[in-house]
Point group: C2
Chain length 408, copies 2
């Protein structure tokens, strides 16, 4: 059987008309000779009774500190309900279908409630139903631990379900249906001439997803990459091809015009950051201080990013809403940080920049021409990260897009 | 551990205030030294988003012929959600609690979807949580088949869950909380001086439940009876003792005044019946005819009751809404039934009538005095069934109540 995993998010299955549109996509895939395995999220967003947020509200009104275990059990119902309704929709259109919980679909996870990781996938049950000619609809975002507890996979969990099933079934494609046409070179609300990418490497998309692109969860991309199953990010509401996500071989060697010669594939951003500068003693005792500082932040549960350690100076960022807490932690342990709120991180990602000289020079040129002050800059072989004032962010993104992408 | 199974129906857990009242009952039982194991139905009735009827509506709008399997998966979510919310309510009041699905509670059923029967109960998981000092809240009405499919137990399923858990845990009591005070000698809307029974035997309650009393499902009573676990039917909204349901030893030997000397314990009724009279040949060929008639009704899925087979005449009842269909089936197979719609079945149940002479005489006396025409009458050692015109039904019930019960 030639499996096709098709994942539909909450907004794609929010009402009967949309569910019929989704069913047409599934039936269409079947007519093309694929065996579709469908993954659905809970129906709709906040306000709809069976959406994840509504179930969360329901229990939060009762008790702030319900256990992660009970919470996962509750939330899992949202996707189960959605799966049954999707299966019923397919059946009403004459397409045989069956809905499975994550547990029934063989998604085995660890026991870390709310953020469980998939340990293995046992596809026996899916195969059995598929062999009977049924479209299998799997409740996304959930699994079962080895001791029989229902778990959920955290944010973007349905993407992860789809990727894990695609990998286990050696699917032809993992199609991630969403409300955008595909993956763009930049946020079209900022860059009016942002383009849709025909193709992107797993690695590039992973970096974009980690750095603020919300179209897919990076964990899903990693799983697909490990097994070499191509992903397609496409729209539920149009017939366009979407963006192919694959290894660099397929992406660069295929007849995919936009990919040729590109240094940078996409630009993304994360806003509401605060930059911390901490002066440290430069004598050997300073090393102990440094350790104490990082340990203190970790114990307070404050995640830090964009860390630069220089002689006598440490720079890093935290989420702006945690800045006050971080200041307190640092002051309590004897440090006196200099804090700059209202910062944004702009990331330029491109597998093509590896080993190409002059990329940083071009970036600095582009930003300087627009009077954008670079507060911090890191780079790897596929990404350049820039910290700028949030007020400069859109200018910076547009300048970079014009420099590297709009010309293509 | 001294287990107490406490079952709360949908109306008892329909809103936050009611759920707090329920939590107080549970915490109260805990303070008395019991280890409560709680069984809940889905929250509320039609109109509330997580009620069984609402989930049913949701899928029926999409597809009339959704499979029993998918339907059960959907409906099971109602009780799971209810269980988590009840567990959260307990936790918000400082009582440690955990919620389990039917499958997690070890309720193993056959694979007859929508009407599954419990095959066995594996209480290991409940015991583990109970030993940790937690109140275990179990989603009622559901189980899991041996091949991992979620099943539901049909009408009154949560009662059955409670009884099965009570039997498996050798509970001190199975408390069925409801919106009435206990089991009445007759429907108080018909008999104004109907009394609450302090005690009733399993067998009597089984008969009353089969014959129209809606307070508990007969299957639940049968399970409790098999293992000799006493049931109590009581109100969520008051502090009264309710009705004890036990073996005749406890019921008749205990200091339970109302039980002494009673011939009849309770009277119940089923309305909207049609009486069928079918004339048959009295020659030997008539026996083949008779078989053909019953087989024809069975194949058409028409359930019959109150069957009397006499030489040349067969009498039985069917639900009034199926009468036209039954007539058609009979006419198509060459019979010409005489049909009387607007009938009601009145059942007088009492373990005390066995071997007591004159019960039928007293019944006939009481009804004749009130000019009630007895259209059919059957009896067993614990029950007398009477078919009367529905217009005579209330008169008949009141006459019987006065004759056998009001004097006590």
């Amino acid at each position: 059987m030639k499996f096709l995993v098709q994942k539909f998010g909450g907004t794609s299955v929010a009402n009967p008309d949309l569910r019929k549109t989704v069913a047409c996509k599934i039936i269409g895939a079947r007519e093309k000779g694929f065996t579709p395995v469908v993954v659905v999220s809970a129906m709709g967003r906040k306000g709809e009774p069976y959406a994840t947020d509504s179930l969360l509200c329901l229990v939060r009104q009762v008790c702030d500190e319900v256990s992660g275990r009970d919470l996962d059990l509750l939330l899992s119902c949202g996707e189960v309900i959605s799966g049954v309704i999707m299966s019923a929709t397919l059946q009403s259109m004459g397409c045989p279908a069956v809905s499975l919980t994550g547990a029934q679909a063989g998604i085995i996870t660890d026991s870390q409630f709310n953020e469980a990781r998939i340990l293995k996938v046992d596809v026996a049950n899916i195969l059995r139903h598929a062999r009977e000619g049924k479209v299998v609809v799997v409740a996304g975002f959930q699994g079962v631990s080895e001791d029989g507890e229902i778990t959920t996979l955290g944010r973007g969990g349905s993407d992860t379900t789809a990727a894990a099933l695609g990998a286990a079934l050696k699917a032809a494609y993992i199609d991630i249906y969403t409300d955008v046409e595909g993956i763009m070179t930049a946020d079209p609300r900022i860059v009016t001439d942002a383009m849709m990418l025909k193709a992107i490497t797993y690695d590039e998309l992973c970096h974009l997803a980690h750095e603020g692109a919300k179209v897919i969860h990076p964990r899903a991309v990693e799983i697909a990459m490990q097994k070499g199953v191509p992903l397609r990010v496409r729209s539920t509401f149009t017939e366009t091809e979407g963006t192919l996500v694959a290894g660099s071989g397929e992406v660069y060697k295929g007849a995919v015009d936009i990919c040729r010669d590109r240094t940078i594939t996409g630009i993304t951003q994360i806003i509401n950051l605060a930059q911390f500068k901490v002066q440290l003693d430069t004598n050997p005792a300073g090393l102990g201080e440094q350790r104490r500082m990082f340990r203190g932040l970790a114990l307070a549960g404050i995640s830090i990013d964009f860390v630069n350690i220089l002689p006598g100076l440490v720079l890093f960022t935290v989420r702006e809403d945690l800045a006050d807490k971080a200041v307190q932690v640092l002051e309590n342990t004897g440090f006196n940080p200099e804090v700059q709120t209202g910062c944004a991180k702009v990331s330029a990602v491109g597998a093509g920049m590896a080993g190409v000289p002059g990329v940083i020079a071009d970036i600095v040129d582009a930003l300087t021409r627009k009077q954008v002050n670079i507060m911090q800059c890191n780079d790897s072989h596929t990404t350049v990260w820039l910290l700028v004032k949030q007020d400069d962010m859109e200018t910076a993104i547009r300048a970079l897009h014009r420099q590297f992408l709009s010309g293509h």
